[in-house]
């Protein structure tokens, strides 16, 4: 009997410890302005990096679609080069490297530049594969009705290409959003960084757990959506 009571007590103490350390409302109330500030920065980063990356990727892919040999070599080299660098390495290189070049930019700009280089290469590869998946006939049909090359690309090829690679696009967007957390390493005050700062202030990891939960709330819907989409496309192959 005593043994059981002891074990129950130990368990409840462990639970208490868990709640105190990970789900401490008092701490959360104190630091939530910090977390919100971080969240705002994270969202801001996403709203900048994702559209910029998509735009950069489109430029790369459309340029590739002209099939100019030397240009395509260059584009593939760019894509593969930046697909080989860990984004964190790129970030640190750009962030600490730019000042050495005598270029003084706000840290946000350095972060954006690093992410853009990386992100555009991934989006570029996805769009490129999408465009390649559309038969030459589509473009020829469009050209035969008098559309210009660019018009054929924008109105005929790209819409189909995007549909074909939609899961990959969404999947990459998910990755890009996750990348923004790397900016914490160079002290950009985004969500993860603020979680760490708040943990330091309160000597309690609740803010960190809260930051993780915010990421989860933000990204889980995308993950679910992806599962559905991927299942559909893979079944078609």
């Amino acid at each position: 009997m005593g043994g059981v009571a002891l074990r129950v007590e130990a368990l409840s103490r462990a639970m208490e410890g868990l709640v105190y350390n990970f789900f401490n409302l008092e701490v959360l109330l104190k630091v939530h302005p910090l977390l919100l500030k971080g969240l705002r920065m994270t969202l801001q980063l996403c709203l900048l990096v994702v559209p910029l990356g998509i735009a950069g990727g489109l430029v790369v892919a459309v340029a590739y679609s002209f099939h100019v040999r030397w240009l395509n070599w260059l584009l593939i080299a760019y894509i593969d080069l930046f697909r080989s660098f860990p984004p964190l390495v790129l970030l640190i290189l750009v962030f600490y490297g730019l000042p050495f070049l005598g270029v003084e930019v706000p840290s946000l700009v350095a972060v954006l530049l690093a992410f853009l280089l990386n992100t555009a290469s991934y989006y570029g590869e996805i769009f490129r594969a999408g465009i390649e998946s559309i038969g030459r006939g589509q473009r020829e049909a469009a050209r035969s009705t008098g559309l210009s090359g660019l018009q054929a690309m924008v109105y005929v090829v790209l819409p189909q290409a995007v549909r074909n690679v939609l899961p990959d696009l969404i999947s990459n967007t998910l990755e890009v959003i996750k990348f923004t957390a790397l900016a914490s390493v160079v002290a950009l005050p985004e969500l993860l960084r603020m979680g760490r700062v708040a943990q330091g202030l309160t000597y309690n990891p609740t803010p960190l757990i809260a930051a993780a939960l915010i990421y989860l709330a933000l990204l889980w819907p995308i993950v679910r959506l992806l599962s559905r989409l991927e299942r559909r496309t893979m079944a078609k192959r």
């Binding site: 350390n21 080069l81 005598g102 996750k178 790397l182 599962s227």
Partner: protein, 223 residues
């Protein structure tokens, strides 16, 4: 131009820090290999477990897999390293990085394998079962060989992305490439060690990226 040479390609600095960068390369490779082996194996096991369609088990698998696909890996690493000790779970930086990224890779791999299993035509199951093969035999001899083939391109790409993110281990002081490079950069007040790190990653990962292109053209899309 001089400025670039002096700050990014300083030969003296390069010579001085080359050994430590190479040490880092070995750590990165070790970490990556352990992650790939454990992650893919675990993902495979989870996908096969999911094929049994036991409700509560499947819910659990989906939940775990979703969480590790949704969270940024650096968040997972930091939570494991800086939050778990508060509830009495302490692990070294290497173990934290290995465990975090293994769970991430396993989650993506599970999803990829599972999608592969689902995409094998129902007729294949039925044909096999109609000749008297059992569930496990059908899974092993008929479904998985077809599913795995389908999963090779996405799995290759995902594996590269995740092993690349071993650079994150630098935030928990694992002595891998980036850690050595950052330290060297601080000591020498010169960006050259970071350039070296970038080149080191290039040497490791560029062949893999090129390989993934080949894999894509070999296994992708056709059937």
């Amino acid at each position: 131009m001089d400025r670039i040479a002096a700050n990014f390609f300083d030969l003296d600095v390069m010579a001085k820090y080359l050994p430590s960068i190479i040490d880092g390369v070995w750590v990165t490779i070790h970490l990556a290999v352990f992650i790939v082996l454990a992650g893919i194996a675990l993902g495979f096991v989870l996908a096969v477990a999911r094929a049994f369609q036991i409700r509560p088990v499947n819910w659990l698998i989906v939940l775990v897999v979703d969480v590790f696909r949704a969270l940024p890996p650096i968040v997972i690493v930091i939570v494991f390293y800086f939050a778990l000790p508060f509830v009495g779970i302490s692990m070294s930086g290497f173990v934290v990085a290995w465990l975090s990224l293994t769970l991430v890779l396993a989650s993506f791999a599970e999803e990829i394998f599972w999608t592969g299993i689902l995409s094998v035509d129902r007729g294949q199951w039925e044909a096999a079962r109609s000749t008297g093969l059992g569930f496990l035999q059908t899974l092993r001899d008929v479904v998985l060989p077809q599913a795995v083939r389908l999963t090779i391109p996405p799995l290759t790409n995902r594996t590269i992305v995740i092993t690349k993110s071993t650079a994150i281990a630098s935030v928990v002081a694992v002595p891998e490439i980036l850690t050595h490079a950052s330290a060297a950069q601080a000591f020498s007040a010169n960006t050259t060690p970071l350039t070296m790190a970038a080149i080191a990653y290039l040497v490791i990962f560029l062949p893999l990226v090129v390989l993934s292109r080949w894999v894509e053209s070999r296994f992708g899309w056709k059937r």
